[in-house]
């Protein structure tokens, strides 16, 4: 049974379809990247998969059960989420924030047991924030905050980890460390699904890429390509979804894009076309 899947998702905003016809099936132990241009609906798809928003039709399944028929507490034991924007204006200590990941396992008056403490400690150790545990989150840098949030998600001990641009605020060293951490987690059997902007990092660290984009003639986003980095990062797909051209080099089995350049010809041609029609009118 797959830990997470969805079938025929349709999500509209203001009656305008944003995502349509999305059917995905995820396998445990994989690191999956959601890629696509800005506004392609990566975040929206993640929120649908988490049940944070409700689709107009289609179903999201956790272990074969409809997500919207389950309690949030039970969902939280199976899906953990690292949101995109991290605003932490309240002065909790880093440790208190990580401890919040234990919430689905604790009743309203229950204190953390020794086992919970051990899990919290492990999560902080894995994300390398043990030295920050007594610092207030309001005093942390963006990268430190991000790792605290990831530690909180780890403390949830969910089989599936969903991440929305987890490395957007990080310097290059912490970007690599974070991706390595996520990959190590998937090697130990977790499923990780992450929206990522950097195609090269996605190709390097992920087992599977899902490219979201618009099919010709449609305004809604759907899955344009789905597979290994080599299958997804093709010249056609890059042109169609990102309007870029690149030299695609495969080295030691890892796809790498270099010499990335925007494709402007199409737009310029359109501009010429409108210009010529306008001049014709005058």
């Amino acid at each position: 049974m797959s830990p997470l899947s969805c079938s025929n998702l349709l999500f509209s905003y203001d009656k305008k379809p944003l995502l349509e016809n999305i059917s995905l099936d995820f396998t445990a132990g994989q690191f999956v990247a959601l890629i696509g241009a800005n506004g392609a609906g990566k975040s929206t798809l993640l929120q649908l998969l988490l049940g944070l928003i409700k689709q107009q039709s289609g179903t999201v399944f956790i272990d074969g059960r409809d997500i919207h028929r389950q309690k949030r507490r039970d969902i939280a034991k199976q899906l953990a989420f690292v949101p995109q924007s991290i605003e932490l204006p309240y002065a909790f200590s880093a440790q208190a924030l990580v401890a919040m990941g234990r919430n689905p396992y604790l009743g309203p008056f229950e204190l953390e047991t020794a086992e919970d403490q051990r899990i919290i400690h492990n999560a902080m150790h894995q994300t390398d924030i043990t030295h920050l545990k007594n610092r207030l989150v309001t005093t942390l840098s963006g990268g430190e905050k991000q790792r605290v949030i990831i530690a909180r998600a780890l403390a949830q001990q969910a089989a599936t980890l969903l991440l929305d641009e987890p490395i957007a605020n990080l310097d290059i060293c912490h970007q690599i460390e974070t991706l390595q951490l996520i990959r190590a987690l998937t090697h130990s059997g977790k499923l990780a699904i992450s929206a990522l902007h950097d195609l090269n990092l996605a190709a390097r660290y992920c087992d599977r890429l899902i490219l979201l984009g618009q099919m010709p003639g449609s305004s809604a986003t759907t899955v344009v390509a789905d597979g290994s980095p080599a299958q997804v990062l093709t010249a056609d797909n890059l042109a169609q979804c990102f309007s870029i051209a690149a030299d695609i080099i495969t080295c030691k089995g890892i796809v790498n894009l270099t010499n990335i350049r925007p494709i402007k010809e199409k737009i310029e041609q359109d501009n010429y076309a409108t210009q010529s029609t306008t001049s014709a009118v005058y």
Partner: protein, 345 residues
């Protein structure tokens, strides 16, 4: 540094001691001159139901029917306003939210005035608190719907919708008063009620406010973990298993019930719900398991303290209670606004 348990305990003990001290002062102090020994005997008699000693009747009734209910109501009304402020600031993730700023208090006032206008208050003592609760709920629901977009509330929209709601509520209250002037009995009741304050409050009022505030507090303690999680935002809370929609609805019901109860008993007293939670958060940090009891005590302390202050130094002038809390709270509110402006820019 905030999670220092001994510091938290120290603060809580201090608040309890101050509350007890002011309560005692509230019973001992008053315009009527009653000897200390007599007060002791009266309280002992009331508590243990022992045989009556020969004491002047008026002394007994001043202590038991005037000062005691007044002190109790001040304690519970203050506690309720501070707790509601705390909950609203947490729910809206905004330190400027509070019952008076968001128009919830004025909504409760409008509800109460409607109850008096329709004559419902003559039918049952619970009509005013019930209508006040409904008015407060409607106001808060509207403000919440307008200001919050997927769990994100912008400061400007929140405050502006609160201002608009207040203006609407105050206008409707004035309209009802104007309409009722042809019937002097009703108008007098409305005017008397809108003056608010603690004068002439009786055990009937205690019976309204005490059960609601006590049960509200117990329920809020039950939600203290969820309140912490809501501080981090809707997505965070949902992803660690908080049913945000249900929790938020329940918190709205609890807090508006408490505002309704306190407004229907003492009228609209502003700024306690704004200032007290803020100071407590500065002292104790954001964890609600400490903030809830601290706000309960500090709110009680503040309102009782304000009342004793007026009675002690301005007993001749009959200054309304709301004036003192506003004199303290409004500058504080402006200070917060300035601080936010600097952090935002």
């Amino acid at each position: 540094m905030f999670s220092n348990l001994r510091f938290v305990q120290l603060i809580l003990m201090l608040l309890i001691a101050l509350c007890a001290g002011l309560t005692l002062l509230g019973i001992l102090q008053g315009p009527a001159d009653i000897p200390l020994a007599n007060i002791g005997i009266i309280l002992k008699q009331a508590l243990f139901n022992t045989g009556a000693q020969a004491l002047p009747n008026w002394q007994t009734s001043i202590i038991l029917d005037v000062r005691l209910p007044r002190v109790i109501i001040a304690l519970f009304a203050g506690a309720s306003l501070a707790l509601c402020g705390l909950v609203m600031q947490g729910m809206f993730r905004n330190p400027l939210a509070s019952p008076s700023v968001l128009g919830v208090s004025s909504g409760a006032s409008l509800g109460a005035v409607i109850a008096i206008y329709l004559g419902a208050s003559l039918v049952s003592a619970w009509a005013i608190p019930l209508f006040a609760f409904i008015g407060a709920s409607i106001s808060l629901t509207i403000v919440y719907r307008v200001a919050s977009n997927h769990g994100q509330t912008s400061v400007a929209t929140l405050l502006l919708s609160g201002v608009a709601m207040s203006a609407l509520n105050v206008a409707a209250t004035s309209l009802l008063l104007a309409l009722s002037l042809s019937n002097w009995d009703v108008a007098r009741m409305i005017i008397y009620w809108t003056m608010g304050g603690l004068d002439g409050r009786t055990w009937d009022h205690v019976l309204i406010i005490l059960p609601i505030v006590v049960s509200g507090f117990v329920l809020l303690v039950f939600y203290s973990k969820q309140l912490d999680l809501l501080l981090l935002g809707e997505q965070h809370a949902l992803s660690v298993g908080v049913d945000v929609r249900r929790v938020r609805r329940n918190l709205l019901i609890i807090s508006t019930a408490m505002v309704g109860a306190s407004v229907s008993v003492v009228g609209g007293i502003g700024f306690i719900g704004l200032v007290v939670p803020h100071i407590m958060r500065l002292l104790l940090g954001p964890a609600h398991r400490y903030l809830l009891p601290a706000c309960l005590l500090a709110g009680a302390l503040t309102l009782l303290g304000a009342d004793l202050f007026i009675n002690r130094f301005f007993s001749e002038q009959a200054i309304p209670l709301g004036v003192v809390t506003a004199a303290l709270g409004a500058p504080f509110f402006l200070f917060l606004l300035i601080k936010q402006r600097f952090t935002l820019s």
